[in-house]
């Protein structure tokens, strides 16, 4: 580094801040605070806890709800996702989507109203890592349905 200017706002940045004073660098290295940048990841237990908070003691079945996601993701910054429930429009109360490898496990929470035409939603999501994404549907009759997709992410969503 021979005094080359540091770019001010790059979209994706290295985890370690560049213009650290040497003394502070050494201090951080000694105290073990030099690598603070990896954000905490959610885990499957956290997702299980969130799902239990929604369902209570009710059983969760697989089927009815379909989570459509690519199995191999090239760019985690925008992954096309479709969640649909095989049920009439008025019979689905809510949809929840969780990603167990993101810093925050929640992705989307959706409550359908009377003007909904079909229990179906498409959007684009961020994925920080290869992980399992889970969709949970809450039906008006009180039953719960889930679907999960385990996927590989080549380029993680920019978190640094």
């Amino acid at each position: 580094m021979n005094g080359s200017p540091v770019p001010l706002a790059a979209p994706c940045l290295p985890p370690v801040p560049l213009p650290l004073a040497r003394r502070r660098f050494v201090l951080m290295a000694v105290t073990g605070t030099l690598l603070p940048a990896l954000p905490a990841r959610a885990n499957p237990h956290q997702v299980a806890g969130l799902i239990r908070a929604i369902t209570g003691a009710a059983p969760i079945d697989t089927g009815k709800v379909t989570l459509d996601l690519p199995v191999l993701v090239e760019n985690g910054n925008a992954v096309a996702m479709t969640v649909s429930v095989d049920a009439p429009a008025g019979s689905v109360r809510a949809l929840h989507v969780f990603a167990d490898g993101n810093p925050l496990p929640e992705v989307l929470r959706l409550r359908f109203g009377p003007a909904s035409g079909a229990p179906r939603i498409s959007t684009r999501i961020r994925l920080a890592d290869s992980q399992t994404v889970t969709a949970l549907a809450e039906l008006a009759d009180g039953t719960f349905w889930r679907d999960s997709v385990e996927l590989l992410v080549t380029l993680a969503a920019c978190l640094e």
Partner: protein
């Protein structure tokens, strides 16, 4: 004010589901990133979004930082009579914006 695109048929049949596509021009800054100096970039996302057809809710959504920048949503709605398809959303600065398009029911 951010730019919002709502794409839906201008004319629909009574109680027949139609697809709506919504694109909002918003950075959805996740709050997880750091700038060159190691400072955390504050979170700035749209966290609540409500869509309604002629006053009746199509859905209410809570969005989290895992929604990509420039959020895109495609969903289905029904209309009993002509009216406005309205989208209202609130971001972390507390700004609420409302956009709508007219839909006529044949």
């Amino acid at each position: 004010m951010v730019r919002v695109l709502i794409n839906a048929p201008k004319q629909v049949r009574v109680r027949e589901p139609f697809e709506v596509k919504l694109l909002i021009n918003h950075p959805m800054e996740s709050g997880q990133r750091r700038d060159t100096f190691g400072q955390a970039i504050p979170r700035e996302i749209i966290h609540t979004l409500v869509c309604s057809m002629d006053g009746e809710d199509v859905f209410q959504a809570d969005l989290f930082p895992a929604i990509s920048a420039n959020p895109f949503l495609a969903f289905w709605a029904v209309a009993a009579r002509s009216g406005a398809l309205m989208v209202r959303f609130t971001d972390d600065q507390g700004t609420t914006q409302t956009d709508s398009i007219a839909i006529s029911v044949a």
